[in-house]
């Protein structure tokens, strides 16, 4: 009898342990992993906001704190938005952003989260992903919500509606599911920037230091880089200077560093394609064609590496390391227009020091016009998002004059100030706040200015929208006051040399640029078969490109190329190329229409 009771206890104990073991084991593989532990969109009871702004709230209750999970393809940062921008959102809307960044965590983040049926609350994704997610029921319909917004509603007819309607297959009713990112409010065929997106850029003082030789082609460029490197081997504080530095972080369908140099000679690889390049005339060239610009640029990098011009860190470094080098002026050849911002300041400009466009004689750039219909990414709200009206309110504010000023320029009184004629002007601090990561006053939340900027790294309306108050773009480069302040020794010297006010003007005047209408539309998403092949081909192309640049000799370079051509064939090149060609044809046709409708 006693033994019986004992046994019962023991069994119960064992059973208990077993159940415990299994439950812990099972909870270990529950599918819902939420970074940071804060359940997405859970409103916890907490303190009411310090300053709920009655100006923007239309009966929306801000008293409960809200954490928004932002799935953000544009972000280079993963985690909670902190710093001054974080404080701003907290004070204004009682919202905290928890950013998930595939650029940091890897592309599988999209696959695993979308497979689980909940990508996030606020989504900043590619057009092609939108096309997959709408049929899967993971995107919220914003049609009614956007009608009631104060700022976004004014862009619906010209920008959002045409964009959404183009997704005929997924969106037969013409609802509004997504808002294209970086939408400019100029026109579909103008190009407003002073410098093309990708063009040769070099440090002016070094270039003049070797006698500012005329550059007729890439060989001249390499010679000039070689001379500069010989004359300026190290920065004043002893860091090595490299003529060309490469990095792999953003390699997608092909090697990104090759892709953007192809633009110098008139060939672009449209977003949503990986196997082709396209020129302004509408010629479609496979990148593995023997005469493709892709191959010519690979050859250029290979030659440059043979001359000792390519940074040996290239294969192993990441973008952060590169930006550090740019900040220290350790790199001689830049191409992205925004790369100048890492070093150029007005103060340095006054000493004739900074990176400027140095045109090369035989280049003929291709440049997309302002992103009137967005840049290929979209803002959308996940269908499972809690309190979508608060997310909408946030998006609306992001596109309001106030939100745009904060995003692009920071604080009035700290980064910029009003001039007597009612325009804006950068303050002394504002001119270098980004580069120097200037500490922000405690009342705004403290921390460094750059650290505290919006880590969303994308916006719905871009800075090429006119501020109703000043009648100038939000982009501070184009303020009259900045242009005035920018009349530095550097700028005036450059203008005198090239007889033009801006590089864009120089290229246009000398017939060295083609501005093609920006096309941002539904190009369809890949079938799983094509997706499969595309990813294997892209992988192969990227790896081979890197190997070719660092090949031992021309024979190895050629051999790798020949093998690449025949191998991608076997990996299904023709199927992927057919899909890309169809997409490119659509782009070409729409460009022709846009020009006809001008």
């Amino acid at each position: 009898m006693k033994a019986h009771i004992k046994l019962g206890r023991k069994s119960a104990l064992l059973l208990g342990t077993t159940i415990l073991l299994v439950t812990t084991a099972l909870s270990g593989c529950s599918g819902n992993s939420n970074n940071g532990g804060a359940a997405a969109g859970t409103a916890e009871p907490g303190t009411p906001t310090e300053s709920s702004d009655p100006g923007t709230s239309k009966g929306i209750d801000h008293s409960k704190p809200l954490t928004i999970t932002v799935f953000d393809n544009a972000a280079n940062y993963q985690g909670e938005q902190t710093g001054w921008y974080g404080k701003l959102l907290k004070d204004k809307f009682n919202i905290t952003l928890n950013i998930l960044a595939p650029q940091v965590a890897g592309d599988q983040l999209y696959k695993t989260r979308s497979a689980s049926g909940d990508l996030g609350d606020l989504l900043i994704i590619e057009n092609s992903q939108l096309e997959e997610l709408i049929p899967a029921g993971m995107i919220m319909d914003l049609t009614d919500m956007i009608k009631n917004t104060e700022h976004l509603s004014q862009y619906v007819d010209n920008h959002f509606k045409p964009f959404n309607v183009a997704f005929e297959k997924q969106n037969p009713d013409g609802k509004i599911y997504a808002l294209p990112a970086f939408t400019a409010d100029t026109s579909p065929t103008t190009f407003s920037e002073e410098l093309p997106y990708s063009s040769p850029i070099m440090p002016w003082d070094y270039y003049k230091g070797i006698g500012a030789p005329k550059l007729n082609n890439l060989n001249d460029l390499m010679t000039a880089l070689k001379d500069m490197q010989a004359k300026y081997p190290k920065t004043p504080d002893g860091k090595p200077i490299v003529p060309i530095t490469l990095w792999k972080d953003w390699d997608g369908g092909s090697m990104e560093n090759v892709r953007w140099l192809s633009n110098w000679y008139g060939y672009e690889q449209p977003n949503g394609t990986t196997t082709i390049q396209l020129n302004a005339k509408g010629d479609i060239v496979p990148i593995v064609d023997d005469n493709s610009m892709y191959k010519k640029i690979l050859q250029f990098y290979y030659d440059a590496n043979k001359m000792g011009l390519v940074d040996p860190d290239s294969p192993s470094q990441d973008w952060n390391k590169v930006s550090e080098k740019l900040t220290n002026k350790q790199v001689l050849l830049l191409w992205y227009s925004w790369q100048r911002g890492f070093y150029n300041t007005i103060e340095r400009g006054n000493q004739g020091d900074g990176n400027v466009a140095v045109p090369i004689g035989d280049t003929h750039l291709i440049q997309n016009s302002d992103a009137y219909f967005g840049n290929g990414r979209v803002f959308a709200i996940g269908s499972k998002a809690k309190e979508p009206e608060r997310i909408m309110e946030l998006m609306d504010w992001m596109s309001s004059p106030e939100g745009l000023r904060y995003y692009t320029n920071g604080f009035e009184g700290f980064n910029y100030e009003k001039t007597p004629d009612g325009k804006f002007k950068l303050t002394e601090v504002g001119q270098t706040a980004f580069q120097e990561n200037t500490p922000v006053p405690a009342e705004y939340g403290g921390g460094g200015y750059q650290d505290g900027q919006s880590k969303v790294n994308s916006m719905i309306m871009s800075d090429f929208v006119t501020d109703p108050e000043t009648k100038e773009f939000y982009n501070s480069t184009y303020w009259a006051s900045t242009i005035e302040a920018n009349k530095t020794a550097l700028t005036t010297d450059w203008q005198k040399t090239y007889d033009a006010t801006t590089p864009t003007e120089y290229y246009t005047k000398n017939n060295m640029i083609d501005i093609v209408p920006n096309i941002n539309t539904s190009l369809g998403s890949d079938s799983s078969d094509v997706k499969n092949k595309r990813s294997q081909i892209s992988d192969y192309v990227k790896n081979t490109s890197w190997k070719m640049i660092f090949a031992k000799d021309q024979a190895e370079f050629d051999q790798l190329w020949t093998k690449l051509k025949s191998d991608v064939e076997g990996l299904g090149w023709n199927d992927v190329f057919a899909v890309d060609k169809e997409r490119a044809d659509k782009i070409v046709k729409m460009r022709a229409d846009a020009i006809a409708n001008k």
């Binding site: 073991l21 695993t112 294997q536 076997g570």
Partner: protein, 304 residues
């Protein structure tokens, strides 16, 4: 009465092992249900229930043309190469253990054992950052070579595809040598003292004792471990190769596990990678049983 106590007794024994059976069911058998993905055209975010059934299409796609066959063969070749090296040198921990126990200075022995066991607990990511700080173009080794004037341009240790199998084997050995030796040390401790005494009485030298007493007593342990290692011949893990892979060494470093990962996570080809891992499981089972059969034939004992 008796049968009841027997029954309760066996029920109790069943309860003892039930947690482990449940664990096995949850972690070894339940995931097998995931194999169905290999027969569907599955791409997230479309759920499996809405995916199209495609039968053996993905299995076929692995070998549909010469390029793909070459690629798969290269991957299998790498897997065999790296695992093969591991098996070729699988006696190293045993020899290490023998010599370690021969050290008479206790403090020194403990020190060596700690130092060699520690790397086992460092994650591969950290090992790579260590490797990077030593062997990258700006790393310690290149700095040293440059300083001493042996080279004038940095050597790309991490980016070369030469000797990748050997370097991978070397890293893995450095990491696991001390850890793998623990079992052998335990086996040495279990050897009957009288055997040693008898050997010394017969006038054996230290080396002869090792050869005729210690080694033969270690053999059963060694063979069991070797068999387990052969059974996991295709599972040479992923982390190590994942952190060390780059554009330049990918052809020689990509082992099956990494290939599956790259396909699924890099390219979103879940179905294809499931198909490959199914093949992997099948091959592993075949390997285990053939080695087991061989062992039964040669040594009269197996593990299954």
């Amino acid at each position: 009465m008796r049968s009841q106590s027997m029954r309760s007794n066996s029920f109790r024994k069943f309860l003892y092992i039930s947690p482990f059976m449940l664990l096995l069911a949850v972690f070894a058998y339940y995931p097998l249900y995931g194999w169905v993905y290999a027969f569907f055209d599955y791409t997230p975010p479309i759920p499996l229930s809405a995916s199209e059934f495609v039968g053996f299409k993905w299995f076929h796609s692995l070998v549909e043309n010469q390029v793909k066959i070459d690629q798969l063969m290269q991957v299998i070749w790498n897997t065999f190469g790296i695992s093969g090296l591991g098996i070729l040198f699988s006696w190293l921990p045993m020899i290490f253990a023998i010599f370690l126990t021969e050290i008479k200075a206790v403090r020194f022995r403990k020190f060596i054992q700690t130092v060699t066991t520690l790397p086992n607990f460092i994650s591969w990511v950290l090992v790579y950052s260590l490797a990077f700080s030593m062997f990258s173009s700006e790393g310690m080794v290149n700095g040293f070579l440059h300083m001493t004037g042996l080279t004038d341009s940095p050597t790309m240790f991490l980016q070369s595809s030469e000797h990748v199998w050997w370097t991978m084997w070397a890293w893995a050995t450095w990491k696991t040598l001390g850890w793998s030796a623990i079992l052998y040390i335990a086996a040495i401790m279990g050897i009957d003292e009288s055997l040693y005494e008898a050997a010394y009485v017969d006038g054996a030298t230290r080396m002869q004792v090792i050869r005729h007493v210690v080694l033969p007593s270690m053999m059963p342990t060694y063979f069991v471990l070797l068999m387990l290692q052969i059974a996991s011949f295709l599972n040479n893990g992923l982390e190590q190769y994942f952190v060390f892979q780059n554009a330049f060494n990918k052809d020689t470093i990509q082992v099956l596990d990494l290939y599956v990962y790259n396909l699924a996570m890099g390219g979103g080809s879940y179905s294809v990678s499931v198909a490959i891992s199914m093949l992997k499981s099948v091959i592993s089972v075949v390997l285990l049983f053939s080695v087991n059969g061989l062992s039964k034939m040669l040594r009269g004992e197996g593990i299954v």
